[in-house]
Symmetry: C2
Subunit: 248 residues, 2 copies
């Protein structure tokens, strides 16, 4: 290969929240032509991002698996170092590489660890995807955030005090990464008087999707792929708007 060979392009491809029909036309068109795909996967078992995109992959594509142990605490960086090196080898050889990302690549995604390692050295194009945020709102049929609402998206992994402080100041709210934090989040919502407005959505857009009022949930934990939505108070905002608080 000559030294002035043009390097390949790195694509970050949002594959959406779970339903394979929620990939974009652009994502599918790119997956049709790239010679290499890469994706994160758990230490053992299937990659969720690959499963979502499987219909659109070809038998003759090379695949780079980035197996990342799922543990509490700091994100292990070695798997991303190795993954980035394997991707860089393909890019150096002039091959485009598409990284499959659940939801959207830049929205609570691990693509940022690859982006950090590769974006300065290679051309990068990110194809945005449907996030679990709007997929959950769609599943619940719940207008999430209107005209003059603000929306706070907050991970349940914050400690109680931080979470309570943030939730008390927000208008519309989405609490992500609920999973095993459901019980303590529920207690905070109870204290703040937010429980009656809160909805728990699990596995949005997938066959096993469920939508429940938080008040009706008996269990102390929720599935890993779950989110609590608390819609904004558009009606309050509308009246505040009339009284001049807002400047539309």
């Amino acid at each position: 290969m000559s030294a002035d060979k043009t390097s390949g392009r790195l694509y970050g491809i949002g594959v959406g929240p779970g339903d394979p029909e929620l990939l974009t036309i652009k994502a599918v068109n790119i997956l049709k032509v790239v010679p290499v795909v890469a994706y994160p996967a758990p230490e053992s078992g299937n990659s969720s991002a690959r499963t979502i995109a499987a219909t659109y992959l070809r038998d003759d594509q090379r695949e780079i698996e980035i197996r990342v142990p799922m543990r509490s605490g700091a994100v292990p960086m070695a798997p991303y170092d190795r993954g980035a090196a394997a991707i860089a080898a393909e890019l150096d050889a002039g091959h485009d590489v598409a990284v499959l990302c659940e939801g959207d690549p830049l929205f609570f995604g691990s693509f940022m660890y690859l982006h950090d390692r590769l974006a300065g050295r290679y051309p990068v194009k990110v194809v945005p995807g449907v996030t679990s945020l709007t997929a959950c709102a769609a599943s619940a049929g719940l207008p999430l955030v209107g005209r003059n609402d603000d929306l706070l998206i907050v991970p349940a992994t914050l400690d109680d005090a931080s979470l309570e402080q943030r939730l008390s100041a927000a208008s519309a709210i989405a609490i992500v990464k609920v999973g095993r934090h459901f019980g303590r989040v529920r207690s905070i919502l109870d204290r703040l008087g937010l429980t009656s407005r809160s909805v728990l959505v699990a596995y949005a857009s997938r066959a096993e999707e469920t939508v429940q009022k938080v008040a009706d949930v008996g269990a102390d934990t929720a599935p890993y792929f779950s989110m609590i939505l608390i819609p904004g108070r558009q009606s309050e905002d509308a009246s505040a708007n009339r009284s001049g608080r807002f400047r539309p």
Copy 2:
């Protein structure tokens, strides 16, 4: 038509931020088969949502335009009353109706006004779309929000005091509806020391897309379709995580 005729289904279809390739496969499949499409439009001129989806529409589809005057102050409700009535007439006749929504139907969209009027009476299915939020992050190539960040999405239409208070408490931030509020938002970012981390993205995913550091913007206004992004401090969070502030 018999009285027990099954009514049609109302679809809220996210058509994404502007690039027609950012519609989902699901959205395109529905647009291929529905007999009626509806969409918001300004008082005169083209509907932005219809323009985005135009490639996928058929000549034999009926179209319901919901022309809404764009003015400051309260949202006028009469156009939505009339639009909902026209849609209801089609649904009563057993025809499915797809409402085209820029971005996502339930995320800062006017679909909620139709949803409010029709969701109790007819079957509704919302197809989530790519939002301008993640499209702007993709255009800027900017990891927006990581693992333990929270993200605040706030409209520039809030008054100065509310905006400053909210921005000072957030980790990652997206300021939407910037347009003619750019100058005053810039002043607030200056006061909070956030300007150097802020990026202005206009017309994300469209041919006329621009990305600028806020510090480099000379003008006092920005295009209507623009957003300021301030990425989260993942590195700070990572160190806070190690010191036990977070509970992953």
